[in-house]
């Protein structure tokens, strides 16, 4: 039956029965008009007696005295029964009464669409709809087959940057190996970036050409506890057994602020923070005063690690690096001699990339010189490394321009980037 507002009002099976034979409670009161009845007698004469009893009592049409049913004085009205009949003959009824009937499950209100849906029985349909499910008509329809071999259209989903995904993998590896995660300031003093790492004050790495010097804030406070020890080791080697660099060390130069050029500065700070034995790592930005091109950005990421323990040696340095790259999925690795002012047995780490059939340089490592460790209060050998971060990702993604990271943030590339390792 079509109703207003696209509704379709319909009697349920129970409702249809009552529309025909009368509401049970009405049938009961009709039976009692000729006098009170016992339960048994009433049950015989009224079809749905339990329902009739329940509703008649609720409506206070009857009362029970000495196991007999009596009519009360309250007039018996027939609104609900009339409404059922009206619905059955397609007439409109009040919402208030409709609501009651729905509640008694005598009437069902369906949307027009649902009613229409039912007419689909036996047909071939395009979409499975909620109405089909509600009406159960899905049992009687067939679904038009799709071209399931067509690829779906892509979505611009929420997504982490490929660098973040990779960073988490690297973090996980170091944490699994028992390392402490550390960080340090981007604006760093020359002291921690260079002097504490035994880089002489006229070292080319300190040149304006490679290092960003700060105008603001121009100078740092120096850590009083270490200044003298560092000065002495530069000037004459102090008690390390070294000859030192043999020049006059200047506090003013150490005080100059720079943008940190490597995370080894963070490793140096760590030597003063933790008690051996310990292992720590740092993943973070480093800064080089370079012009921007496809190979160079003034800012990129390095991964530094140190292992401090009295029994570690050169073989262990190679072992840790090999293990790290193995966990990164790079199993072919080799070490060649290299040079850094702050390490001995300085090594360059090269990894073989199968798809490129090439050895590529990925980082530097070594054992910190005593001139680095002794002034910072460390007697144990310190294995140390600093590894490139972006290059393995670029190789894996087949990228050859580092500007796509940080600088360009090409949305198409980021949206489409593969992030599953």
């Amino acid at each position: 039956m079509a109703e207003k507002q696209g509704r379709h009002v319909e009697l349920t099976d129970e409702g249809r029965r009552y529309a025909e034979h009368g509401l049970p409670e009405k049938v009961l009161t009709d039976a009692l008009k000729s006098g009170p009845l016992s339960f048994d007698e009433a049950r015989k004469r009224v079809h749905a007696f339990d329902i009739a009893l329940q509703w008649a009592k609720k409506k206070v049409w009857i009362e029970i005295k000495q196991d007999k049913l009596f009519l009360t004085n309250k007039p018996v009205e027939t609104t609900e029964q009339d409404a059922l009949k009206a619905i059955a003959s397609g007439k409109h009824v009040d919402d208030a009464i409709l609501e009651k009937l729905v509640w008694r499950k005598l009437v069902r209100i369906e949307s027009e669409a649902l009613a229409e849906t039912k007419k689909l029985a036996g047909q071939v349909v395009a979409d499975l709809t909620i109405d089909m499910l509600k009406s159960g008509v899905w049992k009687d329809v067939r679904f038009r087959p799709y071209n399931v071999q067509a690829a779906g259209a892509r979505l611009n989903a929420g997504k982490l940057h490929v660098l973040t995904v990779f960073e988490q993998k690297v973090r996980r590896i170091y944490l699994d190996l028992g390392f402490i995660e550390t960080e340090g300031p981007f604006v760093e003093s020359g002291f921690w970036n260079f002097d504490a790492l035994y880089q002489p004050q006229d070292h080319p790495a300190r040149d304006l050409a490679d290092t960003f010097y700060m105008r603001t804030p121009a100078a740092a406070k120096l850590p009083e506890a270490y200044v003298d020890a560092v000065r002495i080791v530069h000037e004459n080697g102090g008690r390390t057994g070294s000859l030192g660099w043999r020049y006059k060390w200047a506090e003013a130069i150490a005080r100059k602020n720079i943008m940190r050029t490597h995370n080894t500065a963070v490793s140096a700070r760590s030597l003063t923070r933790f008690k051996p034995p310990f292992k720590s790592f740092c993943i973070g930005r480093v800064f080089r005063n370079e012009t921007i091109d496809y190979k160079h950005l003034p800012e990129f990421v390095q991964v530094d690690g140190i292992v401090v323990d009295e029994n570690v040696c050169f073989k262990d340095l190679l072992g840790y690096l090999k293990e790290f790259y193995r966990r990164m999925g790079l199993t072919k690795i080799r070490f060649t001699p290299s040079y850094f002012p702050y390490t001995e047995m300085s090594t360059q780490i090269e990894v073989y990339f199968e798809d490129r059939k090439e050895w590529l340089e990925l980082g530097g490592s070594g054992i910190f010189r005593p001139e680095v460790t002794q002034p910072l209060g460390i007697k144990e050998p310190v294995l140390a490394w600093g590894l490139g971060f972006e290059r393995p990702i670029m190789l894996r993604l087949g990228m050859n321009d580092i500007r796509n990271f940080y600088y360009r943030n090409d949305l198409k590339m980021l949206r489409e980037a593969k992030v599953l390792q």
């Binding site: 700060m214 012009t291 292992v307 262990d316 060649t336 047995m345």
Partner: protein, 547 residues
């Protein structure tokens, strides 16, 4: 890193045997010299700054000859003949370039190879050990053209005139600094001094105007037999190292090195001193740090490959080595001779407990929340410029951490907010599909006089929606979802900010403090970024979220 270039033919002549492709590509890099480039006739290698002795083909050849040799080898033993040539050092050089050392080399057979090697070694020594001639500068002269004794002195810029190399006329020192290409290039080393250094002979003829240029008079030609070397500078040790490297290179070619008497302040020195020197080195120390079990003999045999002697107690270091200052340096020589590829990598048990940085854990969680809300993460440079940071945002300039020597002007300050980076990304990606919903969570730098360096890192989050109808309501519901997941109670307080449309901007208040901003970007700012798409955005201080 300096890159040296050698003719293969000439290098093999110095090594004393043919080198195979495997030697060039695999073996020599294992000495610590990565192969840069190789073709049919020449090779390019990187040489580390701690081995300036390998800038010359003689030094490089010597190292590789020993490193690749199989049998026993004699250690280098350099002799000097006592010479009588004198160089007098005048006190006037104290103010400008106080240090000088010299040598004479006789029986030199000048060939194109030798000239090429000398020029290369001299140039690389100037750049590295010499710190671009500031610390060390070398002059090489045909001894026969001048008459000792020589004098090293400082003179007034216009007091003296001579014909410098590669010029057609005599020039004063001042003219050379102004007009000669080398003068212009290196003027900064001396021009602040009142008097400038020269080396003259008995007849006041100029050999050299260090560290700028030599005189044409003493130009080395293929007829030169005897050579005079002067090395001047500011560091006694560095000039001696440079001289030793050159003198031993000549000696390795079979030339005779003769000393020069350098007389300064009444004291007389014979230079160069080519004797080896000793450093006490313990076998057990070397074994422990390398993880090896060498006996004294084995260690001596390995060091022999490096031209370093070992008598069981002391390492004996040849005069051309400039890098040895601790027994650890000897350990490294042992390791190189042993072969880095021969060490068995091991992972020891160092019992430590992992400790993630809470800040990073939180940062990652923030990123995951934002990606979950449907935003694409971007990662930008920390380095920025006031144009992007303030002007294009239509915001007043504020104090920032600022560099003073950036070669790329667009990267000369540290950003203090993430939102300008986000705008930059949107501005650069206007040719791609909209809506664009992006965020960045990362470090910015703020000035903080209380911190050790005067600046510190702060982590911030900014997110933006760029779309035809990007509105305040859209981004406010993103913020609401984010804050709900972050577990932060906040309120929005209407405020004014020049980057945002008035009446459509609020401060984000949490814990009684303003911790961020939210709003629709001002059309003025959009047009500054050359954008024709509305943008609604917010930024919050992640460190403040926690407090």
């Amino acid at each position: 890193m300096a890159v040296v270039q050698f003719e293969k033919r000439a290098l093999e002549a110095m090594v004393g045997r043919r080198l195979t492709e495997a030697d060039y590509k695999e073996r020599i890099p294992m000495f610590g010299c990565p192969l840069e480039k190789s073709d049919a006739t020449s090779v390019h290698y990187e040489v580390s700054p701690n081995r300036p002795d390998m800038f010359s083909i003689e030094g490089f050849g010597r190292a590789i000859r020993r490193f690749t040799a199989t049998g026993k080898q004699k250690l280098s033993n350099y002799k000097t003949a006592a010479g009588i040539i004198t160089l007098k050092v005048d006190a006037s050089v104290q103010q400008v370039r106080p240090c000088v050392t010299c040598a004479v080399v006789r029986n030199v057979k000048i060939t194109d190879d030798l000239i090429a090697s000398l020029m290369q070694a001299q140039e690389k020594l100037h750049d590295t050990l010499g710190r671009k001639r500031k610390k060390v500068a070398i002059g090489i002269h045909d001894l026969s053209k001048v008459q000792p004794p020589f004098t090293y002195k400082a003179v007034a810029p216009d007091a003296i005139k001579f014909l410098p190399l590669d010029m057609r006329r005599e020039m004063t020192l001042r003219e050379i600094l102004k007009q000669h290409p080398k003068g212009k290039a290196y003027a900064h080393v001396i021009e602040s001094a009142k008097k400038w250094p020269v080396i003259v002979d008995k007849k006041e003829r100029v050999l050299s105007f260090p560290p700028i240029i030599n005189g044409e008079l003493t130009r080395v030609t293929n007829r030169t037999k005897d050579i005079f070397i002067d090395v001047t500078g500011t560091d006694e040790r560095a000039i001696n190292q440079a001289l030793n490297i050159l003198a031993t290179s000549f000696a390795d070619r079979g030339c005779k090195v003769e000393t020069v008497q350098v007389v300064a302040g009444g004291k007389r020195r014979s230079t160069p001193d080519l004797s080896a020197w000793k450093m006490k080195t313990d076998v057990s120390y070397v074994n422990k740090i390398l993880g090896l079990k060498l006996d004294k003999k084995q260690m001596a045999a390995l060091l022999e490959k490096m031209d370093v002697g070992f008598d069981g107690t002391n390492a004996i270091i040849p005069p051309y080595r400039t890098d040895v200052m601790h027994p650890m340096d000897i350990a490294e020589d042992v390791a190189i001779a042993y072969g880095y590829d021969k060490f068995e990598p091991t992972v020891p048990e160092v019992p430590t407990i992992a400790q993630p940085l809470e800040k990073h854990e939180r940062l990652y969680a923030v990123k995951q929340i934002m990606a979950g809300i449907g935003f694409q993460e971007v990662v930008c440079l920390t380095l920025s410029n006031v144009g992007d940071e303030f002007d294009r945002m239509d915001a007043p300039r504020q104090p920032v951490a600022e560099t003073r020597n950036a070669v790329t002007p667009e990267c000369n300050i540290c950003r203090r907010d993430v939102l300008p980076s986000i705008m930059d990304v949107l501005a650069n990606n206007q040719h791609y599909e909209y809506p664009q919903k992006i965020f960045e969570a990362g470090d910015v730098v703020v000035l903080d006089p209380a911190s050790e360096t005067g600046a510190r890192n702060v982590k911030k989050l900014a997110a933006a929606i760029a779309d035809t109808r990007a509105s305040y309501a859209d981004v406010a519901s993103v913020l609401a979802s984010f804050m709900e997941s972050a577990g932060v109670k906040y309120e929005l307080r209407a405020a004014k900010h020049p980057s945002f449309i008035e009446g459509r901007m609020a401060e984000i208040i949490a814990g009684g403090k303003a911790i961020g901003v939210i709003g629709e970007i001002n059309p003025k700012a959009l047009s500054n970024w050359k954008m024709d798409m509305p943008v609604a955005a917010f930024e919050v201080d992640l460190d403040a979220l926690k407090a």
